[in-house]
Each structure stands twice: as C-alpha cells, then as structure tokens.
C-alpha cells in the first residue's frame, strides 16, 4: 500500500525522526564492532568513540582461546547435513501430501501439525536419553537428527502449500508419457519448487545456526560444540576483557550477517511469508 502522496515537509520531519530511531536501534551493533577493535586500556577508558586505530589482536585471541575454528567447522557440518536431509525428506513428503486425496491429506496434515503445537521441551529429555543410549551424544549426528525431526513439520508445510498451488496437469502429463513417480518428481516438480526450496534453506539455516539450547545439552564440553555453545562457554569464563569477548561474538555472528548482506530482500520475504506456514 506504499502511499503515493507527495513528499512534504512533514515527511522530512518524519524522515529525521526515523533515522534517529534507526541510529539508536543499531547502536548496540556499533558498540560490538567498536569495542572488539580496541585494546583493553582503550575501551575501558573510552568505549563509545570510533576506533580510529583499529586493534586486531582481540580477534586472534578470541579465535584461539574459544576454539572457534573447531566450532565453525562443527556448525557448518551440522547445518549442511541437516539442510540436505530436510530438503530431500521434506520435498518428497510434501509431494505425497499435496497430491493425495483431500481427506487423507487432511489427516496427515493434522498429524504433522501436532508437532508444532506439542511442546518440544517434553520430548527433549527422553530424546537426550535416547541419544545417550545409542552413544550419539557429543557427536554432530545427534544434532542433525534432532533438527531433521524438529524442523521437518515446518519444512513440509512450506513445501506442501507451494506444491498444492502447482497445476496437476504438469505431473499428470509426465505420468501419461510413462514417467515414474520419482522421475516426475525429479524432472517436473523439483525444478518448479526451487523458490520455496530457497525459503526452506534460508529459514532452516538461520534457525539451526542460531540454536543454543539443544547443542548446549548434546554437545557441551565435546570438541563438536557449535558456534553458539563455544562462544557462550568462552564468554562465561572470560567476562572481564570485553574486547576479546566482543571479538568472539562478532566472529560468531559474522556468517549470518554475511548471509543477510547477500540475501537481504530474499531473507525478509522469507521470514515474512515463510513463517505463515
């Protein structure tokens, strides 16, 4: 509904107010960058001034002391494996759901919807214990299994909504030409659902990368701690030198910030539309 009214003095005043609000809003991020670039003696005297002579030592210290290279690798492994499984299993399942009979589809839909209402805390404890029994605690696989389960209903809803809107004529034409279900899916359906695959990947990637509670339970103390767990563990013991702490925090959010820098619009649309599912 972007208004087409002419730009007046009142708009200019509003613009100034909005920009001031935005500057206040973004100030914590400015602080994060500024302090991470200052030595202890500098930030403790003068935390808010811009770092005219940036000091990069904090980043080296944080990288080494917080074991961030291991954590980065672990996070990437967990996110990548989870995404591959989620996209495959989710798209397959959604194709079935979108093309089965309305009443059956509804039953299955409710079945999966249950998971979004049922409390994940209730399952967290027994799942933890199951993982312990099969010796998966402390390995990235425990997390991959967890995310594949917990992000699956949401992924299936996104895909099903999209596939339902595709005309059946496409897959029926392929079937008449003698294609199997698998061929139809791979060559007809999957290419058409690329946009929603993008949304699925973006949203799940951000959720999984940012999640803290589950990796805290499953991976704490192991060498597979993900970025949020490694950063938290480091910060809790090193809370005195905020310069190094902030460097660790900044390294921790750098990957998502980079992703956001590249995909700004796409990400905002994904969050605005995708969470409706």
């Amino acid at each position: 509904m972007a208004s087409t009214a002419p730009y007046r003095a009142r708009n200019f005043a509003l613009e100034i107010v909005a920009l001031v609000a935005a500057i206040v809003f973004i100030f914590p991020i400015y602080l994060l960058v500024t302090i991470s670039l200052k030595e202890r003696s500098t930030w403790s005297r003068n935390p808010m001034s811009p770092p005219l002579e940036p000091y990069w030592g904090n980043f080296q210290e944080a990288w080494k002391q917080a074991y961030l290279s291991d954590a980065l690798l672990s996070s990437i492994v967990v996110v990548t494996l989870s995404l591959i499984i989620l996209v495959t299993v989710g798209a397959f399942g959604a194709y079935f759901l979108a093309r089965c009979r309305p009443r059956m589809g509804y039953v299955l839909y409710i079945f999966f919807l249950l998971a979004m209402i049922l409390p994940f805390q209730l399952g967290l404890l027994p799942l933890y214990q199951l993982m312990r029994d099969v010796q998966l605690l402390g390995t990235p696989f425990s997390l991959v299994i967890f995310y594949c389960g917990y992000q699956l209903p949401f992924t299936i809803f996104l895909y099903t909504g999209y596939i339902r809107a595709l005309p059946r004529a496409y897959d029926e034409a392929a079937k008449i030409d003698g294609a199997t279900d698998m061929q139809t899916f791979l060559h007809v359906i999957f290419p058409m659902i690329r946009p929603v695959t993008g949304t699925v990947i973006i949203l799940n990637c951000v959720f999984i990368w940012n999640d803290f509670m589950t990796p805290l339970l499953y991976l704490q103390g192991s060498r597979w701690a993900t970025i949020p767990v490694a950063v938290a563990a480091f910060v809790d013991q090193e809370i005195t030198d905020w310069g190094i702490v902030f460097a660790a925090l900044l390294i921790g959010i750098a990957p998502v910030m980079a992703l956001f820098a590249v995909l700004q619009r796409r990400m905002m649309e994904g969050f605005a539309g995708g969470l409706k599912a």
Partner: protein
C-alpha cells in the same frame, strides 16, 4: 481425474480407503519415520516419565502416580516461574505488535530512507540470540553503556540485571529489540497486500489518517496480526537463551522461566521425572493459551472477510 468412469466397477471399499492418491507411499515414508522417531516417541516417553520417579540414570523405574504433580503445586519456584513466563510472553506480544505495527507503517510510507530502515530494523532478527544477549549483558552491566549514558545526563546508575523487576524489563528489552523486525516485515507484507483503492475510497469519504488506519488498515491486517501474536506468544513461552546469558534466572529466581526451570531441574539437579512433569504442565499451559488465541484471531479474520 480419478473419478471412476461409468463403465468401470467401483473398487471395493478397503481398496478405496487405502488408495491415498496419485503418489507412491514411499515418498511420505521417510518423513513419517523421522517424525515418529524423533518427535512423537520422545514426547510420549516424556509424558510417561512424568508419572515415575526416574532420575535419568538408575536402572529401575517406579510408577509413582501423581506425586510429581503434587510436589509441583507446592513448589514455590515453579509457581513463580509460571508467573514470570506469562509476564514475559504477554509483554512480548504487546511490545512486538505495537512497535512492529508502527515500524511497518513507517517503512511502508514514502520516506526516502525506507529501504535502509527496513534493513536496520530487521537485521537483529537473523542474529544468534545467545550472542546478542551477551552483547546486551555488557550494555546493562554496572559500568556499561546504559549507566554511562545515565551518568552523562546526571542520573543515578541502575542495577539493570541486579534488581528483580529491572532484570525482567531488561530481558524483555533485549528480546523485543531482537525480534520486533520480524513483526515489522510480517505487517509490512500485510500492508502491501491491501489494495490502495480502499484507502483512497476512505480518503474521498473524508476519513482522516488516524481513522483510515483504525477502520481500513488494521482490519485488513487481521491475518498478519494472527501470525505476529502467535509467533510472539510461542517465542515468549519458550524463552531460554536470553535468560541463560543475561541473568541465569536471577537475581534469586526473579527471571526463572519454565524453560530455564525445566533445564535446571532435569539436567543440573538430575531430577528427570520431575522435570518431565513440569514440562508436561508447561506444554498444557502453552496449548491452553495458544490454541484459543489462534481460534479467536482466526474468527476475527473471517469476520472482516
């Protein structure tokens, strides 16, 4: 397409019941298997544990009926955690809806900086909550940014994370800061879907800007409102990371929520079954709050067409 032609005999009833449509069952099988194994089974097990005395390690499990629940209702800390969780959840709903709406209207206007403003207000949404919370921990600390600013304008510094009420406010500030951008983009998508003719018609009929927002824009935003409220509620009820980083439930138990409580009981105190009982009650609370709210908001959506 799949209606039987007149010349064909209808297949027997059981065949029709099993025939779910055009696609091979194998397509849904992995999804169902993962869902049953990773979500459904643990939830059923968790429900079962709530009625036992199991500590998570021992070999023997004894059924002990409702005693975990009796204990919970006498547990001062659990009651306080329920209260705190509800306060946080409802504050978040109000703050996120109000500010999200204002921001959405702002960045939907003809401001020249609207695209920049959208980016700035949305960015915190994608950042890792636990990391952002540590950043705010510095801002709230005794010699941190907020107190420095207070001193600059001649006010007394505050114990942002040390005072029970302020600590709760601080936690709500951090979460609102981080997630108001999500409400903003959801409302923005809703605003952009409103046909401009509606607004123009109201203008011609002599409605002032506030009347237009109240009588045209807000009713048309009902679906976006549903999503925002439900997401904010669920997020508020499940709150964990921010409290872990900022206060660890303190001072005292002032910011202990049900999530942090369950974590503490089950994994730090090792009382698995008691934790499961609290989790079960927690889930019921979430369902009892979220489902009727969803129902109510949906009914308003349809009322406005």
């Amino acid at each position: 397409m799949r209606d039987e032609g007149p010349g064909l005999a209808a297949p027997p009833l059981w065949r029709r019941f099993l025939d779910w449509g055009g696609v091979n069952y194998l397509f849904i099988l992995p999804a169902v298997a993962i869902y049953v194994g990773v979500i459904l089974t643990p939830i059923i097990m968790g429900t079962g544990y709530a009625f036992t005395d199991w500590d998570g390690l021992r070999q023997t499990i004894n059924y002990n009926g409702l005693s975990n629940f009796y204990r919970m209702f006498g547990d001062e800390q659990v009651r306080s955690a329920i209260g705190t969780t509800l306060i946080i959840a409802f504050s978040l709903v109000v703050v996120k809806v109000a500010f999200g709406l204002v921001l959405a209207l702002l960045v939907d206007s003809n401001l020249k900086s609207r695209n920049w403003l959208r980016l700035v207000f949305f960015m915190p949404v994608v950042l890792t909550p636990i990391i952002v919370s540590y950043l705010w921990k510095y801002i709230f600390s005794n010699n941190g940014t907020l107190n420095t600013l207070l001193k600059m304008v001649g006010l007394d510094p505050l114990r942002w994370l040390g005072d029970p009420t302020l600590a709760l406010v601080s936690v709500i500030i951090v979460t609102s800061w981080q997630s108001v951008g999500l409400s903003m983009v959801i409302f923005l998508a809703g605003l952009q879907a409103i046909p401009p003719e509606l607004d123009e018609a109201a203008t011609i009929d002599g409605a002032n800007p506030l009347q237009r927002i109240w009588h045209v824009t807000l009713p048309m935003l009902a679906p976006a409102m549903t999503i925002c409220v439900v997401i904010a509620l669920i997020q508020g009820l499940r709150f964990f990371d921010q409290i872990y980083a900022l206060t660890r439930g303190g001072p005292g138990y002032a910011t202990e929520t049900l999530s942090t409580m369950i974590y503490r009981i089950s994994f730090q105190f090792g009382e698995f079954s008691y934790g499961a009982a609290v989790a079960l009650v927690f889930s019921l609370i979430v369902a009892v709050i979220v489902l009727p709210v969803m129902q109510f908001l949906r009914s308003r959506e349809f009322a406005h067409g």
